[in-house]
Symmetry: C2
Amino acid sequence: MAATIKDIAREAGVSVATVSRALTEKDGMSEETRECILQIAKNLNYYPNLQARGLVAKKLDVLGIIIPRTSEFAFSNPFYAEILKGIGKKAREDGQYLLFSFAGEDSYARMYQHGLAAGIIVVANRIDDPLIEEAWKMKIPLVLIPGYPQTRGIPSVDGDSFDGAFKAVEYLAGLGHRRIALLNGPMNSKYSIERLAGYRKGLKKHHLLFDKGLILEFDASMEGGHQKMRKLLSLRQVPTAVLVINDYSALGALRAAQEMSFKVPEDISIIGFGDVPFASMTDPPLTTIKTPYQQIGYESAAMLLKVTQGKRLAQKHRVLPVELIIRKSTAPPSGRKVAVS
Amino acid sequence: MAATIKDIAREAGVSVATVSRALTEKDGMSEETRECILQIAKNLNYYPNLQARGLVAKKLDVLGIIIPRTSEFAFSNPFYAEILKGIGKKAREDGQYLLFSFAGEDSYARMYQHGLAAGIIVVANRIDDPLIEEAWKMKIPLVLIPGYPQTRGIPSVDGDSFDGAFKAVEYLAGLGHRRIALLNGPMNSKYSIERLAGYRKGLKKHHLLFDKGLILEFDASMEGGHQKMRKLLSLRQVPTAVLVINDYSALGALRAAQEMSFKVPEDISIIGFGDVPFASMTDPPLTTIKTPYQQIGYESAAMLLKVTQGKRLAQKHRVLPVELIIRKSTAPPSGRKVAVS
DNA sequence: TTGAAAGCGGTACCAT
DNA sequence: ATGGTACCGCTTTCAA
């Protein structure tokens, strides 16, 4: 069906070797024949079979992306979408295809072993995932988002979660809040670990009591945020402010508060993490720790590309700065105790 | 590096042909040798090189997805995310990888010609895209979302846009609205064409005047929806209700109305299309035409799979039913003329 | 039931 | 500067 290198060779009256040379832009051949061959290739609507090329040249313009979640989960949380935007941008700039695999794989190595991708970006926050280690041991080109809390050998990119949580608490404390809750993700997640640490540091700096009862863990979904917020607001001693692990969950929390007749921010302040696009469109607009997810995605692709090309990474672990974005979901505490509806 | 069929053959003391047979589950061989070979393969952590296999067997477990937009655009609009959820689900069920390509390609055929995908799902609404025709002529397995308004040969899946718009107008008219605006997408889009038609049919049925001035076209982005809504609400004769081409834009429109001190739904009713996840989380929650995007994605993958397997499609063009979801962004017109802020 | 060998579409080495 | 050819990893006929 599709034109092959042989077709071109026949048409041009040269050998396949010559065609290959012309096509791969090797030097050491007359401009004439090259021109001629290129022209014929164009006429024949020829595209090299990347499989065949990959087979022999061990080079493939395909970046693998593994998200060990269902596609339903991954495409629900804007967090992934933002990262994907960044990866997609770099991929396009460098003419790379993107190969996806979602949950259900028994091995991350497989995609690579299958010969379908030159390297793999793993977007996963679990720190105890044996599949990552397995792939790394097999010397598969890998970049992790966000990577491990304690830096290991595998290249990674992430935003500064620790600093983000610290900044959030500092801001809230400055506003006068003394009971600040944390709706955190599961503790096998890098984000959760680092944000808890930053939160504690912030508390400490402002001489605020660390109260375990104000820390609730959940699955970082929107529904989960909704549910945990209800729980938080049913406490005997309701906090006046709450950090939520991501914007998506924060939206759930926001709705929960409003359902229970808490006014945001008068009765309770809410801060999210991420600053994904909808964060400014909620009611009230969400105060949040802006994390450059798009850039994280972009960098991860750039790093992976370097690795697959055998280049050295200037920096194995990139931690991108975050920023507090103040909107309308935070305010000084009112001091008024609000009845639970 | 990775184990190959040869390694297994050597280890098992058989020929590569026998190994291949065992691995591809062909019959006509002793269970003994097969068991043995399978065991060794497992021990060696063997995965077939899909490139090599694809090269000879012309079969590849990779579904191509082309979205002729930037990844930034595609991953911003939840519409795409929903479709991708569905495609991802089917892909996982059938053990297919997903290969993505975004804007910037000069040809849809390329991905296929490259030998990287068994077939391609094109998610694009432009009806005048020559690249689709080109790919189709080259006999590349193709499924279109949403396809063409006037059915052609290429398989397609879509929700019933026409009926959706009709239902929306009917509902609004029933509420007593007489000036119903349409914030529509560009008219080279199937969605826009069909929704305009459904809108007109609804108007006609309820003996409402068709007023060109109440139809604004834009790029279907959130910002665009915001901007066009401002324009609409600055009209001398402000409409009392407006249909917006998708939920994402509808959110922009909602915010615009509120910025201009229009109360939703008292002063103006808003209906979106899609019922994407955040639609119920806006303030007020959005009335919308629920379109089963996930199912559309799922079906498209299922159809493509059939085509690539050489099976006949029972139905070449699927049109999935839509449903009116009534929330809080719509109400009877107040009759009160509101000053523009 | 098993093996030898050709070939899928390329690349790259070694000749010429 | 160009051609012949081995080979990448796998499947598939044909023969044994």
